[in-house]
């Protein structure tokens, strides 16, 4: 929360500079959240590659491997999360790239978020999450709070 705002951009010099691919997966075009998060992460020193709208799981996984990212952050508001996010996990496994962390956000009901976490998604950030919480999550090596 904002109380820690002063710590932003103060990750230790020796800290790894994380690379994150952000993407809108599925057919909806609600890109406000993913753009705000991408910008906040970039401002906090994370290398962010925003893939854009309507990325299929195949496109996301291909881009993540090509760009050699540490994590994929996906945003969904269309209700297709229980189909598309598991598919991303499955493709990463097929490509021996399960070391790439998957996290997400958007309109995802709590029980679906719980189910996705059981499948291997590290964190789902719901509406109202503070930007600092997401920055901390990335800078602490994608560890859920």
């Amino acid at each position: 929360m904002p109380a820690q705002a002063s710590t932003r951009k103060q990750a230790p010099e020796t800290a790894k500079r994380w690379r994150v691919l952000t993407a809108k997966v599925g057919l909806d075009g609600h890109d406000r959240g993913v753009k705000v998060v991408s910008r906040a992460l970039r401002d906090a020193g994370v290398e962010v590659i925003y893939a854009g709208l309507r990325q299929t799981p195949e496109m996301v996984v291909e881009a993540a491997i090509q760009e050699d990212v540490d994590a994929i952050g996906v945003s969904l508001h269309s209700g297709a999360h229980m189909t598309l996010i598991p598919r991303i996990l499955e493709l990463l496994k097929e490509r021996n790239a399960s070391d790439i962390v998957v996290f997400g956000g958007g309109i995802i009901p709590q029980d679906d978020a719980d189910a996705l976490k059981k499948m291997g998604v590290v964190e789902i950030f719901g509406p109202g999450t503070s930007l600092q919480a997401i920055i901390d999550f990335v800078n602490h090596g994608f560890k859920a709070a």
């Binding site: 854009g52 508001h77 209700g79 229980m82 598309l84 709590q110 509406p127």
Partner: protein, 550 residues
Amino acid sequence: MAVRRKTAHEEWAARYGGGKRPPKEGATTISGVPLQPLYTPQDLAGWSYDEKLGYPGEFPYTRGVYPSMYRGQLWTIRQFAGYGTAEETNRRYKFLLSQGQAGLSVAFDMPTLMGYDSDDPISAGEVGHCGVAIDSLEDMETLFDGIRLDQITTSMTINSPAAILYAMYIAVGEKEGLSPAQLGGTLQNDILKEYIAQKEYIFPPEPSMRLVVDTIVFAARNMPRWNAVSISGYHIREAGSTAVQELAFTLADGMAYVEASIEAGLPVDEFAPRLSFFFDSHIDFFEEIAKFRAARRLWARIMRDKYGARDPKSWMLRFHTQTAGVSLTRQQVENNISRTAYEAMAAVLGGTNSLHTNSMDEVLALPTERAAQIALRTQQVLAHETGVTNTIDPLAGSYFLEQLTDEMERGAQQYFDRIDQQGGVLRCIESGFFQREIADAAFEFERKLEANERIIVGVNAYKEGEGAPVPTLKIGPETERGQVARLAALKARRDNTSARNRLEDLKRAARGRDNLMPPLLNCVKAYVTEGEIMAALKEVFGVYREPILF
């Protein structure tokens, strides 16, 4: 020497700043418009009632488009709904109509909005999820089964494929024995704000504009009760714009449609009376009321003075309002009921012509029936208990509100100038101007929230634990399986030669300049699917890729 006595205003100012607790400085609206703690007649120096307000039902319509406003007729309570299959949504519509709702508003699922059939691989996991799945005329017949289309008006929230769904609706009407002229309703069909904000574009801007103009021309000639376009600020605002940006970009889009229709040879007074608008009602109460009033005044002047419209109906900005989805919070979901109620009241005090109130649980999923009913009742309480319908434009003359209305107007005018200087709306879309302005405003809002400069109850103040989970509506996989099976059966049953021929006719027409509504009507009546039609049009028109920026 005579000492000038302090004015009452100066005395107040001294008392205001002189107390033990220094008053809060730097207050702004949610959009960042600076606010004074007090407004007085000084703020309206030179302000003229006749020039700025006039009377309800008269130019410049600041006080409302109808002389009797809500005493004559209540706003239309129009709840946006649609989920799962056409059959399930048909049941929800019958329920809503039985509860006193006067008009329907169709929410389509993402594949339908993006022009894909339910059996397309890209539709996997999306069918029926955030609206109803419509693939062909058969689904549309099911959607309106048992509902007399001449007894209601229907609003359809669809953009890139709008002309196709419009053709399907006309065809359903014909099957009920109704002529197109008997059908009343609204097509959202506002492609410009798709490039700007909601991002459900498919074709490049030019052919997209042609499709919009074809529907405007068709409606102007055949359907006097139909609004071919609902020029929408809602999505611009939800994407993070300020109130002024919402107002300015929406009216700029409106001007682009007017210019394109005039260019297509339609006299302005033949189509302008049927242009309608759609705005967001956000949580900043007075700013929203000012925005709605400024919108009417601006549009009246633009239509009369810039485009030379002579029919007063061309000057009237009629609009639908939806309360702000983005203002809802996942935390303490029930608080959303009160947010929505304030927003609904702002819309009504701003003179809206129809209204959708969000359900408290829409931040989580599609609304449950219970939540949808509370949202509907919120409007009924507003309409029948609070007394707001008794007096027209009741806040007129408020020093604050009139000053803020002027401020909205000034801000919009500055954006119109900037858009003109950059070559107009299409050029600004291609350069990413609108998108960047909106992204910047959205980021600024988050920054203020993060710094506790803005408070959202339950989010960065008055927090509790997560609370009990709220039941949400689930769409199971059987919806998609059933829809795909119905589509396969339709494709096996229909006359496929005829379907192919109608598609070829459409492509030929698309390559030329004829109005595309007649060949589209022939396609849908031959049960050509939406996905097939869109694929054919993509062959001719191509697809759009947006500049990626954040």
